[in-house]
Structure formats: structure tokens, C-alpha cells
Amino acid sequence: MNYQQFSTIQLDALKEIGNIGAGNAATSMSRLIQKKVDMEVPSIEIVAFDDVMEMVGGPEHLIVGILFQIHGKAPGMVYLLFTIEEAESLVRQMTNNDEISFTQQDELAVSALQEAGNILAGSYLTALSDFTNINMQPSVPHLSVDMAGAILTVGLLQVSEVYDFAIIINTKINDTEENNQGINGQLLLLPSPESFTKIFQALGIQSYE
């Protein structure tokens, strides 16, 4: 299957899947921190590898990345990406402790952030699973604080055996509270090349226009 041959209907379906996932994730997250969490309508990005890094500020940009492998019938990867400040703000709200600062050495901060990741990625994938009727389970969270290029390449490797570009369902998580008290971040879904066919088949839109 070639990405460039995706029909408008197929691209819209991917966007809708992302939207359903994001809605579910936002609801779970706002229950956890008792604040409104807003997730934008996702965009479908079909981008060259170098441009994937540009989506998050360039290959050398420092980011906090939590990676989940998707196990099941439609494998892939989910990334949750934050700046250090965004990660810190989220951890403070989860722990109700405004003194805490986010470093990779702080076990409490790291486990709080991983737990937030579990809830976001878990509820996102549950919604996808329910909608497509394809079993998708997140792995345990893997956290790294490093250069965007180094963190994101891991998710591109599987695709890179087949293509020179990636298709990414990109959802922004927005702060709707004043004084930067909400949460901000980015959720990327990277299905493996073979998963697109399975998703489209499940939705009955496998044939081209």
C-alpha cells in the first residue's frame, strides 16, 4: 500500500479515528486532574523523516517523550510529547505539589508522568479499538528526556524499511485554564505500514476510490 494512494475517505477516516481517541483521552485526563482538558481535532501528517523532527521543534530540540508500543492486530507506536515545562506542570497537578520540578532523576515525577501517559494512551487506544473492533493494547510506558531526533527515530524505524516518509496522526492537547494551570502536550499515533490495511478493512473502506 502506498501512502500517496490513500483516498480522501481513508484520510478522513484516520482523522475521525484520531478524533474519537482524543475525545476519550481528554475525558479520562480531565477526570484525573479535575480540570477541563481540550484536545484539538487531529491532523494527518504525511511527512519526510526530517520534517517529523520539525513538527516538534527540530532534531536537536529537548523534549520529554513517552513511547508506547501498540500490541495486537494493528501494531504501531504512540508518543506523548511534552516540553520540560509542560511535563512539570502536569506532574504538579497530578501530585498537588507545586514545589516539584521535573527531572529524569526524580522518581516520583517520572512515575507520575508515566501514569498520566498510561491514562492518556490507554484511553486513546481503547476508543480506537472499540471503534474499529481491532484489538490494540499499549505496552508499558518508556520515558526519555533527550533530543527530539533521537527519541522520534525509534518510531520511524519500522516504517523506514518500507518508506521514506511517515504517516502520523497528530493531536494537540491544549491548556484551557488560565495562568497555564491546565495541561499541554502532543499525542502522535504512528501505525505500522501493515496496520493501515487492517484499519481500512475493519471500516469497510479498503478499496481505492
Binding site: F49, D50, M53, G58, P59, E60, L62, L67, Q69, S139, H142, S144, V145, D146, M147, A148, G149, A150, I151, T153, V154, L156, L157, Q158, S160, E161, V162, Y163, D164
Partner: protein
Amino acid sequence: MSSKIQDQSIVKVGIADLNVVTAPDMIRTSGLGSCVGVVLYNIQKETAGMAHVMLPDSSLGKQASLNKYKYADTAIDILVDRLCSKGIRKSQLKAKLAGGAQMFQINTANDIMRIGKRNVEAVLQKLEEHKIPVESSDVGGNYGRTIEFNPQTGKLKIRTITKGEHVI
């Protein structure tokens, strides 16, 4: 040539990409994780080539049209050819390399997660085939690297987030 000072520029190499520069220009690639940055150079000619290799072996490719810059084996062959076409003999080339980290400790049967180590091995094997000596290297670990090579001095500067900056 006049003694006018030439403008120095830094040539950037992207992912699965390669390029060649001559002094005073420098060459750089950013955010290496499991990928390996390979530099082949000749100090006398003040010329260097750099490849940002993503996968070890072009036989892994399932593509109809192969991107030869993506794989260790094909990228190094091209780099050697490019440098030789600039009047440098293969026997005069030296190599430096950096990268090949494992960013996440993921336990899986899938070999793709140990790709950093395999990339380094593939690069070393290819350099051995070409009989190009490796002058220095900084590989492995679980952190990202940005590297910059100066073809005039032969020095490779490595920048990291947690381990600071050093030169090999």
C-alpha cells in the same frame, strides 16, 4: 587565490542523507539516536563526507526504489565514491563515527529495538571491507548526539544533553 577570508558555512546532513564538504566549511548532523553518523575524511585535502545512517543493511529494504543513503552498506559505498571523485585515494581516507544508541530499554523479540548496535556493527564491517581505519568513535549509550566535523582539523565535536560536549 586571494587572501580574502572565505565565508564559512555549516552543511547540514538530514536523516538518511549524506554530503561532502571542503574547508573552511564544516559538516553537521543533529539528533542521532540509534542512527550512526559516519565521517570519512582526508586532512591533506581538507575534505570530509558525512552520512546519517538509519538502518544496517540494504537487504532489509522492502522498497521498490531503494533510498541508498538510508543503509550503512550502500551509504558508505557512495561516500567513498564521492570522495574518490574529488581526487582522494581510498587508502588516504580515515573514519570517525558516533551514535548507535539504544534510546528505550524495550524488551522485545523484534530486532528493530537493538538497531543502534547493529548499525554500528554494519558500519564497522563496511569500513573494514574498504580498509578504511577508524580513528575514533563514540557509540552506544542511551542518549542522543549532535555531531559536527571540521575537515581542516579532523576533529569531531559531539554534543549531548546530559553528558555535555566533547571532541574526538
